[in-house]
Symmetry: C2
Subunit: 344 residues, 2 copies
């Protein structure tokens, strides 16, 4: 395994003044620690795939498969003004195009991190990516809720074309909202811990509730909390990537999996967290996003289960997250980063 990183996420955290709740050691410290513990070396290439096309193609040729996480991944950040809109579109699409072009030269299975948000949240029953349309398979009609989500819809259009026309083998993992912090591997040493983002831009809803509960801050629900969303534990996200790599798509296939463990209504989540912590209060705030106040959601997730995935549910691990991570690092919270300031 090698890493390609341009440190965009660390730079943005600096710009926003919103550090991870958990302390993140420098990348080279992390890989060194991992080598001590596992005996395995992870080379890190510090380059930008939007710029260094030749370096990217060379690296692709030296490896057996590619996992593409290299995109600006926050919906609120993508909506913080025109520059961030443009950055999200150009960064995500140029990076994806350069990677696809590198794969034309050195065909390798690609696993990409998509989002369950490509479908929009008005359909009640969502298949895994494809629908029948006039006797052939087409991508499910899309309805992104932010520029970030739009960029992942646009990725889908490229993936569909490069598989149909050029015979690439691509798996898109349309992931739900991630919660949790540790995987088996990152739990081996404090130097290896994952980011825990709780700020209004990069914090996902459940991690935000966990942190808020840990510091005695009211849980911030946007609107009525009637939004139903899909969730997955971080340990499962790596499990699903492993399954997708070990069982790659066919050449010429654009395979889409919904990488979600369960769906939950946001206000129910807030109540679940509140019930684990003695004095937790819930604040219903004005919703900064343009979205339906209430929606139902059923999402097919058979594909990954057929590969052997047994999802972790909120009931399995929630208490552990509250007590082990959020409380342990609660002294690091920057309180004025908690509220969402990005409105759209």
């Amino acid at each position: 395994v090698s890493i390609v990183d341009n440190f965009a996420r660390r730079n943005i955290a600096n710009q926003l003044g919103a550090p991870s709740l958990t302390p993140i050691t420098p990348l080279l410290e992390r890989t060194k620690r991992w080598q001590e513990l596992s005996g395995k070396r992870i080379p890190a290439y510090l380059t930008d795939i939007c710029v260094d096309r030749a370096g990217l193609a060379r690296l692709v040729g030296e490896h057996d498969a590619v996992v593409h996480f290299g995109e600006q991944r926050s919906a609120p950040y993508s909506m913080k003004g025109m520059k961030r809109r443009e950055y999200t579109i150009s960064n995500n699409l140029t990076g994806t195009t350069n990677l696809l072009n590198a794969l034309l030269r050195h065909p390798r299975p690609l696993v990409h991190l998509g989002t369950a948000g490509v479908y929009g949240y008005s359909s009640q029953s969502v298949p895994e990516g494809w629908v029948r349309w006039n006797d052939e398979w087409r991508l499910h009609p899309m309805k992104p809720g932010s520029i970030y989500h739009a960029s992942k819809c646009m990725d889908q259009i490229l993936f569909d074309f490069y598989t149909r026309n050029d015979g690439l083998a691509i798996t898109d993992l349309h992931q739900g909202v991630v919660w949790g912090t540790q995987t088996e591997q990152t739990g081996l040493h404090p130097d290896l811990i994952n980011r825990f983002d709780y700020d209004g831009d990069y914090g996902t809803v459940l991690n935000r509730f966990l942190m808020q509960a840990a510091i005695g801050h009211p849980l911030t629900v946007h609107g009525t909390g009637g939004q139903t969303r899909a969730f997955i534990h971080i340990q499962d996200t790596v499990e699903c990537v492993r399954l997708a790599l070990e069982n790659p798509a066919e050449w010429g296939q654009y395979r889409i999996y919904n990488q979600i463990a369960e769906t939950q209504r946001v206000r129910d989540l807030a109540q679940k967290v509140a019930s684990l912590v003695a004095e937790a209060q819930i604040d219903y705030l004005e919703n900064p996003r343009k979205e339906a106040e209430e929606n139902d959601l059923e999402m097919d997730n058979q594909g990954l289960q057929e590969l052997g995935w047994d999802p972790i549910t909120l009931d399995d691990r929630l208490m552990e997250e509250v007590t082990e991570i959020a409380r342990m690092y609660s002294h690091r919270v920057v309180r004025n980063r908690i509220y969402c300031t990005s409105e759209w």
Copy 2:
């Protein structure tokens, strides 16, 4: 009316060594001649909308509406190697994003040139952009046949988002294959004539047949010629833009019109042209594109007709094009640019 141009099309014609059949005078000569003839000045701003965000926003603010033609518009060119794929994606998407962001600052009706190719050619009956999906309107499922067509699908995703979320008013004209050379205005003086591209990258199928017939070259049909495509005369393309500007979309509306006059099968077109010219032969060549050999196509074009459009058909003007333009300039043909060299 003002023009914003970075001369990308002229530069690419130079790169490819494929000049227009008709001689194209410098832009400032054209606008000067137009002013002499019409009394109207057309200021030209030589800038790149991918780069000059501030200049673009200022210009948008100084005008009543925007017509967006600023994209790399050739499917074969977009498939000529990795650099052209990347250029087409980044140029088209960055330009569109910058323009949409300028419109956030100065809301104006936008008319954009789309393509009938966003729908793919496997559906037999194509509506104007939107379909019912789970009780709401969604963009018709897309299936682009080239990177160029993919970029226009991706534009659609942005237009849908910026109208729904930001209240912009956008008309997308999903145009068929353009044929013909002159409009009423360009016919006023030889200095004003439009491009007539006949090369394998930028030449559209009917113009290629007309030029081939004029110089006694066999008409080059790709595959069986069973592809059914939608066509429109160049005079009508400006008529439709005028109608869309005079009857703008509502604020918050993403309005899609199919800007097509009629559908024709490619081999029928070849025969129609051959019948107008004594010794014209037809050559059936291997198809350089990955596409269905035969398809039927019916495409709704009610929207523009309801605004008053009365389409020009092939039967009205074909003879005139053959005799007036293709023959007049046939001495300018660069014969080794006739065949398509871009394969996908």
